[in-house]
Amino acid sequence: SPFFCITGLLITRWIYSGHFPLSDLYESLIFLSWGFSLIHMVSYFKFKKRKNNLSAITAPSAIFTQGFATSGLLTKMHQSAILAPALQSQWLMMHVSMMVLGYAALLCGSLLSVALLVITIRKAIKIIGENNNFAFSFGKIQYMNERSNVLLNTYFLSSKNYYRYQLTQQLDHWSYRIISLGFIFLTIGILSGAVWANEAWGSYWNWDPKETWAFITWTIFAIYFHTRTNTNLEGVNSALVASMGFLIIWICYFGVNLLGIGLHSYGSFTLN
């Protein structure tokens, strides 16, 4: 049901303002939460028989993003604004929607990888028998250093703990599939943005901060796929890369807008 509400909201905004509802940060946040609920719906309907862990990630994300968008932080921007001349193009729909859908899928996938890491490292801490007073993050940093030895060992030991192993396998697989999907959207989004820039300003790549960070995100997920081709590096290492990707997406989406400069300044805002 959040899916239908958000769809309704987006369509209303579209009709009212006369342009596709994706011209500033507020609208793109709504679109992002729509993306999450879309993924939630699709995976729910496709895999009715199986217990789906995905919903644990997608539903809260959708609610959280929607809540953030509607919160007091961004009240200035709730009115639908008019489009600047550069944004009056058919490419707006394709480029921005692809990018936001890509972000939604990649965020889900990398959250799943983070979950995978959490579970694996918790196991490592328990199995090695370390003092449980360690703060979680401290343990993570320490074990990242020894990961090549420790975590390979835990893979062998984990065969004892069958269900947890099943869970990590499932998380790993789902994270892989969702990130693949998100990667496709991200690729199409970046490339359509480049073509649009060429039509509007005569140059398809300007090393604008937002463009550059989108490219960095793309590169990190390309690294993710390459770490999976070699079975030695699969599993935990690729999950680490995907978790880095999670942070980088937020920098790309939000952090760059805080700078407020460059060709993507439509998305900028100030906290009041």
């Binding site: 001349p85 693949s180 199409i188 090393w207 960070w213 390309a222 690294i223 390459h226």
Partner: protein, 548 residues
């Protein structure tokens, strides 16, 4: 009838082109040998069997067995290949020939490629963190030596490494070139052999090897041909040889990553061409004036050569803007005429943002606008053109102003009427003391009286900000973009392979897939459920299908 199940003949196996670490031999049918070490390195099964290709029967009658190699991941370059190659020539020639092989082997190393990608990402991030294109003094101030960031990062780092122009600095470009060569090496050495391997289909002749697949199942009363029919209905390509079946689906998913790499190489080539062979320029032209394209365009690199079209003269007929009801600018338009060297008009078009003009390989974009002059009548005399100057204010809204001196123009302290405008719609006038006097629209022709002077705003003359560009690399880059989008989508497909063997009345089925590992068992179960169960009466037909 062709007997393909010939266990005893395994004669001289000729060495195939791709060498792999050979783990075991599987002799065909019904004498399963122990399948050796299942280790985590690239799993390779070497199978010996006879295959009748659909092309010809030229191998008929000869017991040539081909070694068919099936791998999970990319086959690694081994030393054998390096030694096997040079036959003729002396030792020195052999060494020279070996060198590119070794370089290729180094370049197509996966961890190196991953490291390069990380480096590129890191450099790009740094490029956004450090302000680009500022003067050296700016960096002296921002990254002082007395107080270095992180304890060591000063302006010396920034300027010597070229971080102030990161995206054209040697460090960054060098890393990109290295990445490009790695890409080419990897495509040549790893991906293309993978194509050859994946295209060969192979039959597993032993029940044990089928059972060892990721997914395997046994159908007690079934026929392998029924299974084949059902698989065909599900979109698989099925090959049936006697009791043995091989089916696959989604082969494109295995080739698509090669396409991705090739597309990226195309984009990089196109980008290089753009960077070295294009012309760029921008100009702000007041309404009514001309310029020649060649005067405005400047080359960007050593491959840039001007064309005949550069002699075209561009005349700005009209520049005007559209506004929303709220007064904001909605779009700006320029009506241009192009004249060739003989003065003949060759093109006329109205540009706007997102709608450029293309002529002879040159593209003109509407990117900016400015206020050129304000045409007024003063006390009925004129019209006078007052040049409007841009005034700087915070934000990206524009503000222009001009000044009409009144009274004694030779004194040092001249007073006059100031006029300000944000756009071409309306002009705000202020009197000699700087107090607000009124607003006038240029088309209204309404006079305004300020301090005894009658002013009529006749017209607001704008200038059009145009960017011109030629770019020979664009077709290659666009083609690369399209190919990249397409191949990325295709590589989402999962390549599934299924083997089956008829063993008496039971059928043993095994399968594996490279991507959709979780959904595969479900799909297989669904398909297998559809295989009809053979009832007692038709069992007598069975033996005819096997051997014979």
């Amino acid at each position: 009838m062709e007997n393909l199940l010939n266990p005893s003949k395994t004669p001289n196996l000729f060495i195939p082109k791709t060498h792999l670490f050979k783990l075991s031999f599987l002799h065909s049918n019904f004498n399963p040998q122990p399948h050796s070490s299942f280790n985590r390195r690239p799993l390779s099964i070497t199978i010996t069997c006879k295959v009748k290709t659909s092309q010809g029967r030229k191998n008929d009658g000869k017991n040539i067995s081909k070694k068919i190699v099936l791998t999970d991941s990319a086959p690694e370059l081994s030393n054998e290949e390096i030694k096997a190659k040079p036959k003729g020539g002396g030792k020195a020639w052999g060494v020279i020939k070996k060198f590119p092989k070794r370089v290729l082997a180094i370049l197509s190393n996966l961890p190196l490629a991953i490291g390069e990608m990380f480096t590129v990402a890191g450099l790009m991030a740094l490029g956004t963190a450090i302000d680009q294109g500022e003067s050296p003094e700016y960096y002296f101030q921002k990254y002082p030596e007395e107080n270095p960031i992180f304890g060591f990062f000063t302006w010396r780092w920034v300027l010597t490494l070229g971080f102030d122009h990161m995206f054209s600095s040697p460090v960054f470009l060098g890393t990109l070139i290295l990445l490009g060569t790695s890409l080419m090496a990897c495509t040549y050495t790893t991906q293309i052999p993978l194509v050859k391997v994946a295209r060969r289909w192979s039959f597993l002749q032993s029940a044990d090897s089928i059972r060892k697949q990721e997914f395997s199942d046994t159908l007690p009363q079934a026929s392998v041909s029924d299974l084949g029919v059902i698989l065909m209905g599900a979109g698989y390509e099925v090959f049936l040889k006697g009791p043995s079946l091989y089916a696959f689906k989604g082969l494109a998913g295995r080739f698509a990553p090669i396409g991705v790499h090739l597309a990226m190489l195309l984009i990089m080539a196109g980008g290089t061409l753009s960077a070295t062979g294009s012309f760029r320029g921008s100009v702000t032209v007041p309404q009514g004036l001309n310029f020649v394209m060649g005067d405005v365009l400047g080359p960007t690199g050593f491959l840039s050569t001007p064309t005949e079209a550069f002699n075209t003269e561009v005349h700005v007929n009209k520049f005007y803007m559209d506004y929303y009801d709220s007064g904001e600018v909605s779009q700006f338009h320029t009506d241009l005429s192009l004249f060739d060297m003989n003065g003949k008009e060759v093109m006329r078009k109205t540009l706007s943002v997102n709608d450029p003009l293309r002529y002879g390989g040159i593209t003109i974009y509407q990117t900016d606008w400015s206020f050129s002059a304000l045409q007024i009548l003063k006390d009925g005399e004129g019209p006078f053109n007052l040049a409007m100057a841009p005034l700087t204010i915070n934000g990206d809204k524009k503000l222009f102003g001009t000044f009409l001196p009144v009274g004694d123009t030779d004194s040092s302290n001249v007073k006059g009427i100031s006029m300000l405008a944000r756009d071409l719609q309306s002009i705000v006038l202020y009197d000699k003391q700087g107090k607000f006097a009124g607003v006038r629209r240029p088309n209204s022709k309404l006079p305004i009286e300020i301090d005894g002077t009658k002013i009529v705003i006749v017209d607001a003359i704008g200038s059009s900000g145009l960017d011109l560009k030629t770019d020979p690399g664009v077709p290659a880059v666009y083609a690369g973009f399209g190919a990249l989008m397409l191949t990325t989508c295709i590589s989402y497909l999962s390549h599934a392979q299924i083997w089956a063997l008829q063993d008496g009345t039971t059928v043993i089925v095994g399968g594996k897939t490279n991507r959709a590992k979780a959904e595969f068992p479900d799909e297989m179960n669904r398909l297998l459920d559809q295989v009809p169960e053979i009832v007692e009466s038709s069992i007598s037909k069975k033996p005819d299908n096997i051997g014979g």
